[in-house]
């Protein structure tokens, strides 16, 4: 536990000085706040911008942050030094993962509040996002682990992130995309948050998100087995 806390505390200090990762955490909450408070169009669905940016946030911030942090540590050899100092790979991943999850939940909280979510609805909003963030983190960890350096990680992260972050938004414009996007967890997150207070979670939502989660676990397991942590 002490190692997890040490990694967590290190990550707070490190990320505060890492602008490229910090911006990932802040960009969508800031955009959501600005859009929700400045744009009001008649007939626009309730929480429109908050829901849209929340779904994009889920597909982008945790995935990019996890991949960037792990690949940078591999490239700079800091991860190897940690592992040689008796930090277990699981402790490292939990320390970094907890940090990213908490920051993403804080960002999501800001998005939710800016969209007018309160009380139980806000809690539902955060629960749905929390699950989506977890899947994104696993995909990011798989990319970071399989990459030798940041450059290699970025070239994998960007297309994956674009798919998961933009599918929910593109689905609103095109039915064909919507049909295909259904199989992505970020689209399911989008469907679920758009249904808060209207429709509950369906078995389909749960099965698809669980399926995505399992695929992410398998991908991470494969990357870990193939490349190792350091």
């Amino acid at each position: 536990m002490k190692n997890i806390i040490a990694i967590f505390q290190k990550q707070i200090k490190d990320t505060l000085k890492n602008k490229s990762v910090l911006i990932e955490f802040l960009i969508f909450p800031i955009m959501s706040i600005i859009m929700e408070y400045s744009i009001h169009i008649e007939g626009m669905p309730e929480h429109f911008f908050a829901n849209m940016f929340a779904a994009m946030y889920v597909g982008m911030a945790p995935l990019v942050a996890m991949s960037a942090i792990i690949s940078e540590e591999k490239e700079k050899n800091t991860l190897r030094v940690l592992l040689m100092s008796n930090v277990k790979p699981a402790e490292y991943l939990i320390g970094v993962g907890c940090y990213i999850w908490i920051i993403c939940m804080m960002g999501s909280c800001a998005i939710g509040i800016s969209g007018g979510y309160k009380g139980k609805m806000l809690l539902s909003f955060l629960t749905i996002i929390g699950v989506g963030v977890l899947v994104s983190m696993l995909i990011g960890a798989a990319i970071g682990t399989s990459s030798k350096n940041q450059m290699a990680a970025t070239s994998l992260t960007v297309p994956v992130m674009v798919v998961f972050a933009f599918l929910p938004m593109l689905s609103t414009f095109n039915e064909s995309i919507e049909k295909v996007a259904k199989i992505a967890y970020s689209q399911q997150v989008s469907i679920l948050i758009n249904g808060i207070g209207k429709t509950g979670a369906s078995a389909e939502n749960a099965v698809i998100i669980s399926g995505n989660f399992l695929i992410a676990v398998v991908l991470f397991g494969y990357a870990y087995k193939k490349s190792g942590m350091a």
């Binding site: 505390q9 700079k76 190897r80 040689m84 008796n86």
Partner: protein, 282 residues
């Protein structure tokens, strides 16, 4: 424990290439052991095997009595490491870099300031690593390596590319660690450093240890000429056999105050290496 590090007939292959070809070595507690060899000789591979980062293809490798293929956590707590790629957090300050490892090793906070003073980085404690010079980074990595007062300290090319002042400081700290009782496993291609610091050295060439002993022993072993070279004040160079037969002549030069310098003819470690392998240290 008689030896803290033992390698017996260690072979390591990368794909089909045999990088280590039956390496044998032993390091006692409190000893400074130097592994010398040119780039690509297999020095880093040996360190990686000893620290559990790589497994050997054949042979046995032990550290603190444990097989390096399956090191227990307690072994890692007794090891300190400074690898060629220093592995420092660039955005964090010197203090914060060490604070992370102080928490991991569970050493008191006071130890951070202590090691920073030892490597003369106390004034730069709050500086981010990205603003440090190469020498300062090396010293910081060494401070991190000794923070948990390890029983074995692995130093991979600790003085490579550093200025003489930084090298001198690193050497002082290595000696201090030895006085504390730590065994130091040092890889270098700096012969002078090895001669100055090491109790024993092994010369590694193309994955094989070609010579082992104390630096002095090795140089004497290859002193084929075994002569005294005397440079006289009048500019003449005189070579005399190193034995009683030359005593009168040497005495004569000394009595007449004609001697500028006297040297024995034992070769340098580099010359020995060249004799053994036909190649230079690069």
């Amino acid at each position: 424990m008689e030896y803290v590090i033992e390698m017996q007939d260690v072979v390591r292959n990368f794909d089909r290439k045999e990088v280590l070809k039956g390496v044998n070595l032993k390091v006692s507690p409190g000893e400074i052991f130097g592994l010398l060899g040119p780039s690509g000789a297999g020095k880093t591979t040996i360190i990686k095997i000893l620290t559990g980062q790589l497994r050997c293809t054949k042979g046995a490798s032990m550290i603190l009595g444990q097989d390096t293929g399956a090191l227990e956590p307690f072994v890692y707590r007794k090891m300190g490491m400074m690898m060629d790629n220093l592995g420092l957090y660039e955005r964090l300050s010197c203090y914060d870099n060490l604070k992370l490892f102080a928490k991991i090793y569970q050493v008191p906070r006071g130890r951070i300031s202590e090691v920073l003073r030892q490597v003369d980085l106390a004034d730069a404690a709050r500086e981010p690593v990205s603003k440090l010079s190469k020498g300062m980074r090396g010293r910081l990595a060494l401070a991190r390596a000794v923070m948990n007062e390890p029983e074995i300290l692995f130093l991979d090319e600790p003085s490579s590319g550093l200025d003489p002042q930084a090298v001198s400081m690193i050497h002082q700290l290595i000696k201090k660690e030895q006085e504390r009782g730590a065994a130091i496993f040092l890889t270098t291609h700096n012969m002078e450093e090895a001669s100055k610091l090491c109790d024993h050295i092994a010369l590694l060439n193309e994955g094989k240890i070609v010579e082992y002993g104390s630096p002095k022993e090795i140089c004497l072993r290859y002193n084929h000429q075994n002569k005294l070279q005397i440079r006289l004040l009048d500019g003449r160079n005189v070579a005399l056999p190193n034995g009683s037969m030359a005593a009168d002549e040497v005495k004569d030069y000394l009595e007449k105050e004609m001697v500028e310098t006297i040297h024995s003819t034992e070769p340098s470690l580099e010359t020995v290496f060249m004799e053994l392998t036909g190649r230079r240290f690069e």
